[in-house]
Amino acid sequence: EQHAAGKIMQMLSLAALCGAAAAFTSPLAASRSGFAGSVVSASPAQPAASGVVMGANIRELRDRVGSVKNTRKITSAMRLVAAAKVRRAQEACLRSRPFSETLERILGGLLQRLSTENLDIPLLEAREAKKVGLLVITGDRGLCGSYNAAAIKKTEARIKELTSQGVEVELILVGNKGGSYFKRRDTPVRKAVQCGQAPTAEQASEIASELLSSYYAGELDRVELIYTSFISMISSKPSVRTIIPLAPQGIEMEGDEIFKMTTKDGELSINREKREASAPQEFAADMIFEQEPSQLLNALLPLYLNGQLLRTLQESVASELASRMSAMQSATDNAKELQGNLERQMNRARQAKITQELMEIVAGADAL
């Protein structure tokens, strides 16, 4: 121990000869006259003045590391919960396909057969739009990245477009986030409902009833749907679509897109699959129409709308969950990085403190 102390004292005197006191900014060194202080490298951002303050700094950092660790656990858990729910949401989407497929087929067949006739079907007739309803689908909760914000932004843009064309706009809101945002704004809200994590046929029915009755009564001339569709793990796109009236030729027979959860390189990821629209059912020449074609269509279209609405709700919920997964993944990664940085800082501070104590001991021994 004496030898060690002696060695250090030798180093001290050597350093004093070098006289690089000016390079070292620590007040610690100033009182030690000329120690170059290369051992206490650290970062200039650690201006520890005395042992007491140094300890407090370390304690602070330790607390911060603890809280970041907790945050990381929470965001990681949220991500896993969202992942489990996405699977369920997907399955619900798949279960509701047969209903829509069947109706698309029949509708396609009917429209093919009746395209030449002059039919009185309000749901197929486009009329001059004086009042447009916007059905906006958002989520109930946050922490899902840009999912809600994107839909709301798109809605605001569409409202602006329509009002600049002199068209009145009313909102039908699904999801608390959209509801609370537009509640305190100028555009009148016709109806606001919750979205929920598992959309049911009853929910879709309720919304469809409201839309249909307003449309038939002439209170709305057109209804557009704004929802966020999922593209990939890092991007989702809000889109606008007219759902009422249904255009006779393109009766939303676009192919369906479903997304599947898979693993890639050991990490959860999501793939999109496109599915072709179902072909219209071939109607035989001797097909019996039990009722008038227009009556059939008038009865069929609301059913079809119901099915479409349910599917859109389910897709939106699945998109929200996928966005949340993605957002929580980023949050977890950031927390991990931050934790690493803080721990490094804490270690450096700890080492600085130890070195300082050593130097005090040495100096004290030196003074004797």
């Binding site: 619900a92 279960r95 509701s96 047969p98 209903f99 829509s100 069947t102 109706l103 087929r105 029949i106 009917l110 009185d120 309000p122 049911t200 046929a201 009853e202 879709a204 029915s205 309720e206 469809a208 009833s209 249909l212 009755s213 038939y216 009564a217 059912q281 071939e282 109607f283 035989a284 001797d286 097909m287 019996i288 129409f289 039990e290 009722q291 009556q295 059939l296 008038n298 009865a299 069929l300 609301p302 059913l303 119901n306 099915g307 349910l310």
Partner: protein
């Protein structure tokens, strides 16, 4: 026994102003029957009829060979059997009875309205907004509902209220008939 109160949401006539709402969820689970289930009479199904019975949330029957289905068409009940002439019909509130094997028991579902189409390929497609087995219909709720809508019909002042009450009466009457039929 969960009770089920349903009103048809289809606007059958242009005068109808407001589509009635459906209410209540049921706690029983749907059994998805597909033709993947092994059946003894599969050989006979080459000329047989395949049933696809769907509601928005789920497909109750998906391409299952059945012997006969009785459907509540608007203009009257009709039975669909293999090689039925292609038909398309709207359904009124009533019971869809499905007989899977010849001479076998009937499985009954109450629907508040819907659509049925039989194609040239002998495929029967039935679509409805909701479907409930008869056990799921609560007798008391149906009685109360029927009385309520009958009273509303009697006291209705304008066309719209009358039309709504009429739908209610029709659906509840069909439900109580379905329960009494068993």
């Amino acid at each position: 026994v969960p009770c089920c109160a349903m009103l048809s949401a289809a606007a059958r006539t242009p005068q109808l102003r407001r589509a009635a709402t459906t209410a209540l969820s049921r706690s029983s689970t749907r059994v998805l029957r597909t033709s993947a289930a092994p059946r003894a009479d599969d050989q006979a199904s080459s000329t047989g009829m395949k049933l696809t019975f769907t509601v928005p949330a789920v497909a109750i029957y998906q391409d299952l060979p059945v012997e006969m289905v009785i459907l509540p068409g608007i203009d009257g009940f009709f039975g669909a059997m293999p090689s039925h002439v292609p038909t398309i019909s709207e359904l009124k509130p009533g019971v869809v009875s499905i007989q899977e094997t010849a001479g076998g028991p009937l499985t009954k579902y109450f629907v508040p309205g819907g659509f049925a189409s039989i194609g040239t390929d002998s495929k029967l497609r039935v679509s409805a907004l909701e479907a409930a087995t008869i056990d799921e219909l609560d007798v008391d709720a149906v009685k109360t509902g029927l009385a309520q809508y009958q009273a509303a019909y009697a006291s209705a002042t304008d066309d719209k209220a009358k039309a709504e009450a009429e739908i209610g009466v029709e659906v509840y009457q069909a439900m109580s008939y379905a329960i009494s039929e068993g």
